[in-house]
């Protein structure tokens, strides 16, 4: 069985107990990057990535070329001042980074395209109740069926690379929200199945030593099989054409902002086209 990636705060005491584990270290300040990497190395944990959450715009972050070997998931508020961002772009292209931007900033709808076309990977953070699904549809089309190859935009390219039309396609892993892959730890080493559970203090294990048994727990099974509940309620999501990709992620806002149904149906359609294009690509023999 594959072991989980453990999403944990930057806490040396905690990291010292994660010897040999794969970790995602949550940071809230860019200045802690080097210290976090050193600490993970010191305690012989494996760094899956640093998850940096900041309200600082991308343009104002002093990116350094010597971070190129550090996997970074940067949650920022916006691109920031454009000339400053462009100045950072060559460095950003060299880094092992994915930039997450929230949709509650109007200008970010455009920023994904700019980032992608400049060769920088990004991810849409579906935040806010007024998601403009039409704009997201355009962005998804750009990501999957654009005229030229550009940097991936998650979750669209992520889903495209894992897509199976016969299965459920969960892209929660893009946001570290997939109990099969990621578990969330607090400072005391208590384990939650999601970030929301962590914040709410809903733990499935009180100690990291219990992590290996989590897949057998009732809570875990309930969570990963939770999608079945949508069909018991038989509400809008149960009838949605885009269910296999969405898995009910927007059920809370679906009534007030129903554009998600159309978007996910379109998304699946584009995934089929994407697959058809990929299939046509000629693959030659290789030694």
């Amino acid at each position: 069985m594959r072991s989980h990636f453990l999403v944990c705060p930057f806490n040396e005491n905690l990291l010292s107990k994660l010897h040999g584990k794969s970790v995602v270290v949550r940071l809230n300040g860019i200045e802690k990057i080097s210290a976090a990497v050193d600490t993970v190395t010191k305690h012989q944990a494996h760094l899956h990535c640093l998850l940096l959450e900041t309200q600082t715009p991308v343009a104002a972050i002093p990116f350094q070329e010597n971070w190129r070997d550090i996997p970074l998931a940067l949650y920022a508020s916006s691109l920031g001042r454009f000339p400053d961002f462009v100045r950072q772009a060559p460095t950003l292209r060299q880094l092992n980074i994915r930039i997450y931007l929230p949709l509650d900033h109007e200008e970010n709808y455009t920023s994904f395209r700019i980032l992608s076309s400049l060769g920088i990977e990004s991810a849409v953070e579906f935040k806010g109740k007024n998601i403009k699904w039409e704009l997201i549809t355009d962005l998804m089309t750009y990501a999957l069926l654009g005229l030229i190859i550009h940097a991936p935009i998650a979750p669209f390219n992520y889903v495209a690379s894992h897509y199976d039309r016969q299965s459920r396609n969960d892209y929660g892993a893009v946001y570290f929200e997939d109990p099969y892959t990621y578990l969330h730890l607090d400072d005391k080493g208590r384990v939650a199945l999601s970030r929301a559970d962590l914040t709410a203090g809903k733990f499935v294990a009180q100690d990291i030593d219990d992590v290996d048994d989590i897949n057998g727990s009732e809570e875990f099974r309930e969570r990963v099989e939770g999608w079945r509940n949508f069909f018991l309620k038989a509400d809008g999501c149960a009838y949605c054409q885009g269910w296999r990709v969405c898995l009910g992620k927007y059920s809370d806002t679906m009534k007030s902002n129903p554009g998600c149904m159309e978007f996910f149906a379109e998304f699946m359609d584009s995934l089929e086209k994407y697959k058809a294009i990929k299939k046509r690509e000629k693959i030659i023999w290789q030694p």
């Binding site: 454009f82 462009v86 700019i114 076309s117 400049l118 750009y142 550009h150």
Partner: protein, 335 residues
């Protein structure tokens, strides 16, 4: 190489304006969005085109003009901006700050300058142009549109010396525009224009100023002596062509060139690459040329036109003529 309009607003009202028809039919608030800019940059890249030519209206009126140029440069395009030089102070200073250290090959301005005397330009406008020229010096290639036979070029030589502009001039001849009145050079006056132009050869030579003739100059109106001078002085780079320039509007429509802005306008999304657009319009131009080979009657039998050394003048003259006749020609020439 296509020209991409960032905006349809303009600060001037030149009597010969080629874009008059297009502007009158478009909303001045129509500006190119970032999404469409990225799409067009992708389209050019997919077509292997590394030059991005920005046009307006006055492109610097686009609220994101400087940032869009920065973006295109970061995408490794060489950018050429066609401007009147009349810029908002803030845009001008920011542009200078952002672009001052770039090599000329990466970013150049082609500044269309009217004769301050003959065009009766307001003083504020003239001062604004001078401020632009002073800041951007040799990043600027001056451009002049000839719309009367008594034009003068002295002011351009003064500007070149005063502001250190590039030692070359793009010279255009005003053509008619379909469906709208403008001042243009009548066919009977073409020879007079050329004659006048060649009175400046001593100055071109003395000041070592190269001239670049824009489209629509007919070869047959130059004497052999004039052609020999052009050949010697431009290294044989003069062209006597009329081909689709390809203009793309902020609303993502495409048309062959401004004088023909109402002719065969299409959506850019109907094409996958520039070659498709080019082929589409070349095909239509060729069909029109079946109806009338060129602007003069003798174009029909001209060997230079047949060999494509001359394209028979600006197509807008022919199409304007067809519109005044009974519609007996093939349908492509009317749409």
């Amino acid at each position: 190489m296509p020209n991409i309009l960032l905006t349809q607003r303009c600060v001037r009202s030149c009597p010969y304006c080629f874009a008059k028809k297009h502007m009158s039919e478009s909303s001045p608030d129509d500006i190119l969005s970032w999404e469409n800019l990225v799409y067009l940059a992708d389209l050019l890249e997919a077509s292997n085109e590394r030059q991005f030519r920005i046009l307006g209206g006055e492109p610097t009126l686009h609220p994101d003009f400087n940032h869009m140029v920065l973006y295109l440069l970061e995408r490794n395009f060489n950018v050429i901006v066609f401007t009147s030089g009349i810029m908002v102070e803030r845009t001008l200073l920011e542009a200078h700050y952002l672009f001052k250290d770039l090599p000329f090959e990466r970013l150049a301005f082609i500044c269309n300058i009217n004769d301050p005397q003959k065009s009766n330009s307001p003083l504020a406008e003239v001062e604004s142009v001078k401020r632009f020229l002073k800041l951007f010096e040799n990043r600027v290639i001056p451009s002049f549109n000839i719309y009367r036979t008594d034009f003068e070029l002295e002011f351009l030589f003064h500007y070149m010396n005063e502001f250190g502009l590039q030692r070359s001039i793009r010279l255009g001849m005003a053509h008619p525009i379909l469906g709208k009145r403008n001042i243009f050079i009548r066919l009977n006056d073409v020879e007079a224009v050329i004659k006048r132009l060649f009175t400046y050869t001593p100055l071109f030579e003395r000041l070592r100023v190269k001239i670049g003739l824009d489209c629509g100059f007919p070869l047959c109106r130059f004497s052999d002596e004039q052609l020999a001078w052009l050949y010697r002085f431009t290294g044989g780079e003069s062209n006597f062509g009329c081909a689709p320039a390809i203009d793309i509007g902020p609303d993502m429509t495409v048309w062959p060139c401004f004088p023909l802005s109402s002719f065969q306008k299409r959506s850019i999304f109907g094409f996958n690459c520039l070659k498709e657009i080019q082929d589409y319009y070349v095909d239509i131009f060729n069909k029109v040329k079946v109806e009338a080979a060129g602007i003069f009657q003798q174009c029909d039998d001209c060997v230079f036109r047949q060999d494509n050394i001359c394209r028979g003048g600006c197509l807008a003259h022919n199409l304007a003529r067809f519109q005044n006749e009974a519609p007996v020609r093939m349908k492509e020439v009317y749409s």
